[in-house]
């Protein structure tokens, strides 16, 4: 996993609330058996016509979206399916952080495992950010993971929550699997004292 420390970037605002995983990446693009090129499918049906031509009014097709690493999304982002293709598509496009008022549980968990930072802000800050970004499209935000601070250009800052374990993994760029593997003695002890309830291989 890529490490995430500090990020300063312009912002793509998509204010729709409860953006679901089928919007982020429609199911028909889930037939891939690898993670290659997922950026092409990001927001596919809002971004492209049936024939594949871009829809100019959609923000990701506008010059202002180029190089943006922060997505400012409407309330309650990532609802719906468990598809990790959603954070794969977002990161492949170049996003490293999504700001919203809340995140669906599975999306949040998936994002954290792909070095995509879910930044939860209070509703009033969320509203203010949309106003600021609309007023100044070149506005840059800074997200510092170590201090858990989101800083606005005027110097105003707001802290955001993240569990310490996920934070340390992201700062160091390490996959969480290693931690579980280190608990092997405990896992063995658990298995020894908890016989399997089902054996799927039994004939």
């Amino acid at each position: 996993m890529e490490s995430f420390t500090k990020l300063t970037s312009r912002v793509v605002p998509i204010p729709n609330e409860s953006i679901d995983t089928d919007i982020i990446i429609p199911a028909r693009y889930l037939k891939a058996t690898d993670k290659v090129g997922m950026d092409r499918f990001l927001f596919r049906d809002w971004r492209f016509n049936e024939d594949g031509t871009p829809i100019p009014s959609f923000i990701l097709n506008q010059p202002r979206a180029e190089g943006c690493k922060i997505l400012l999304a409407g309330k309650n982002f990532g609802t719906g399916s468990s598809r990790e293709h959603a954070p794969w598509a977002l990161t492949a496009f170049g996003f490293r952080a999504v700001i919203s008022t809340s995140f669906a549980d599975i999306f949040r968990s998936n994002a954290l495992k792909n070095s995509l930072l879910p930044v939860v802000v209070p509703a009033d800050v969320h509203e203010e950010l949309f106003k600021l970004v609309e007023a100044d499209q070149k506005l840059e935000l800074t997200i510092d993971l170590a201090s858990q601070i989101l800083t606005l250009p005027g110097g105003k800052s707001v802290s955001f929550p993240i569990d310490n374990f996920s934070k340390q993994c992201m700062l160091a760029g390490v996959d969480q699997l290693g931690y579980i593997q280190k608990q092997d003695t405990h896992i063995r002890a658990f298995e020894a004292s908890h016989p399997a309830m089902v054996v799927t291989t039994a004939k």
Binding site: E17, I23, S82, N110, L177, I187, F190, V198, T200, T201
Partner: protein, 468 residues
């Protein structure tokens, strides 16, 4: 005396491998279900790291999402789907995982075959790379959807890193009116709490209305817990659960059965156990429900008008409603009842069990579906299909003009070519009405099998009570 515990807490505590300070807990997983869509990258990651599957015997696979539901003797036309299904075959063979794939008498939607094979049992922790894993909570199991990286974690270690969710009691008392079903209960709940209402929580459904539901109905309710944003939904095991389990292929037998039943009976929440949140609903006040918008929280009673923008609590919700109604090409203030329907889909992990098909058949029997409405009936598994055949249900559907298909996720997720055309309206017994969910540009009304069947006959959104 130990503090009273909820059903969730008992299962959680019983699966803790280790909990270190400032770290998530390591939770043991009793059963992982695998399907073709969310597993290939996990198996590739194992291969890249030279890892094995730790417990193939606590893992089981099937193919459901991208498989065709027409004649299975033909090769799969979609090259990518065919590749994905072959990869599942190869991965299962290489890593020693039992696969109920195409051609198996046990093939079916992953959340339908787990329970019907008796693999899903009370007190277990169950995961799958699929959000509707919450279905299995109907048995008093802790079951939730995970991403592909977590699928890899469980394959490699049989464990997951987890933070303890909150507990949220959904208490539903009262007796449902005739023709009001489990699907209506869950749509009514989500309309009430919203699609984010359960975020960070595990729901436990309690109350006399839940006790009165069959296992099939309980699975429908738990299945859509995720649509309310919840991590999982659970119902304490009782005699209905135990009766369902008895004799299932993978259910315990003999002395092990007696021990298991004793263990299951100790699972229900203790008297005085505390939940972080509680909500109460009255089943007797519920109506058949239908959704009008682009998330499952946008639901109304079948006869009610689509809400007005002015009824929304804030600007963000007003915009969300306006956007949804534009996509759906619906007007606020007008009822859905009587609106022509192009497609009816009876299927999915929400409503493709035998009792769902029986309910639909009860409405359709002796009638014809409207010729301009395409009606797909897709059983949830080969076992459901076989049972339906034994009861003569396919003939009822076929005589009425419906399509009777092979088991799979089909038009719920529209990955396999079963799609609602752009701009067309579907009444669907599935779980999601998201934009494009049933095909690019598709417009979905979620409802119960009874409402779907009535709408198929009428060719428009219909109230089953006016038909029967």
């Amino acid at each position: 005396m130990a503090a009273p515990q909820t059903l969730f807490e008992k299962i959680w505590n019983n699966h803790l491998v280790i909990e270190e300070p400032d770290c998530p807990v390591v939770l043991y997983i009793d059963l992982q279900l695998i399907h073709e869509v969310t597993s290939p990258q996990a198996f590739s990651a194992l291969r890249d790291q030279g890892l094995k599957v730790r417990q193939p015997s606590r893992t089981v696979a099937t193919a459901d999402h991208s498989i065709p539901t027409h004649d299975r003797t033909l090769p799969i036309a979609d090259v990518m789907a065919a590749k994905q299904i072959k990869q599942l075959d190869d991965n299962c063979r290489e890593f020693g995982i039992p696969l109920h794939g195409l051609g198996s008498p046990n093939q079916g939607i992953v959340h339908i075959i787990g329970p019907e094979l008796g693999l899903t049992q009370p007190g277990m922790t169950i995961v799958c790379g699929d959000s509707h894993t919450s279905t299995h909570g109907a048995f008093g199991a802790l079951a939730f959807g995970i991403g592909t990286t977590e699928v890899e974690h469980v394959l490699a270690t049989q464990c997951l890193l987890q933070r303890k969710p909150e507990t949220f009691e959904v208490r539903i008392d009262g007796v449902l009116k005739p023709f009001v079903t489990a699907k209506d209960i869950i749509l009514a709940l989500i309309a009430r709490i919203g699609v984010g209402g359960g975020v960070g929580s595990v729901l436990e459904y309690t109350g006399s209305a839940m006790r009165a539901l069959s296992m099939d109905g309980r699975m429908t309710v738990c299945n859509m817990s995720i649509e309310g944003g919840a991590k999982a939904g659970m119902i304490a095991p009782d005699d209905t659960t135990i009766e369902y389990m008895a004799g299932r292929e993978f259910a315990p037998k003999g002395a092990a059965w007696d021990e298991a039943v004793k263990r299951w009976k100790s699972l229900p929440s203790d008297a005085g156990a505390k939940y972080d949140k509680t909500i109460t609903l009255d089943a007797s006040a519920m109506e058949p429900m239908i959704t009008y918008g682009t998330n499952p929280g946008m639901g109304i009673a079948i006869g009610a008008p689509v809400p007005q923008l002015s009824e929304m609590a804030d600007e963000s919700s007003r915009k969300a409603l306006a956007h949804a109604l534009e996509y759906m090409a619906l007007e606020p203030g007008k009822p859905l009842l009587g609106r022509p329907v192009d497609v009816v889909f009876i299927g999915s992990c929400t409503n493709a069990r035998i009792s769902d098909l029986r309910e639909a058949a009860r409405v359709i029997k002796g009638r014809k579906v409207t010729p301009t409405t395409r009606v797909l009936v897709v059983p949830g598994s080969q076992q459901v299909k076989k049972q339906a055949e034994a009861e003569g249900l396919p003939k009822i559907f076929l005589d009425a003009g419906c399509e009777w298909r092979e088991p799979g996720c089909s038009m719920c997720i529209a990955m396999n070519g079963d799609e609602v055309p752009a701009g067309k309206y579907a009444v669907s017994t599935s779980n999601r009405n998201f934009e494009g969910r049933q095909g690019k540009g598709s417009r979905t009304f979620l409802a119960s099998p009874l409402t779907a069947a009535a709408s198929a006959v009428a060719g428009k959104v219909a109230d089953v009570r006016q038909l029967i």
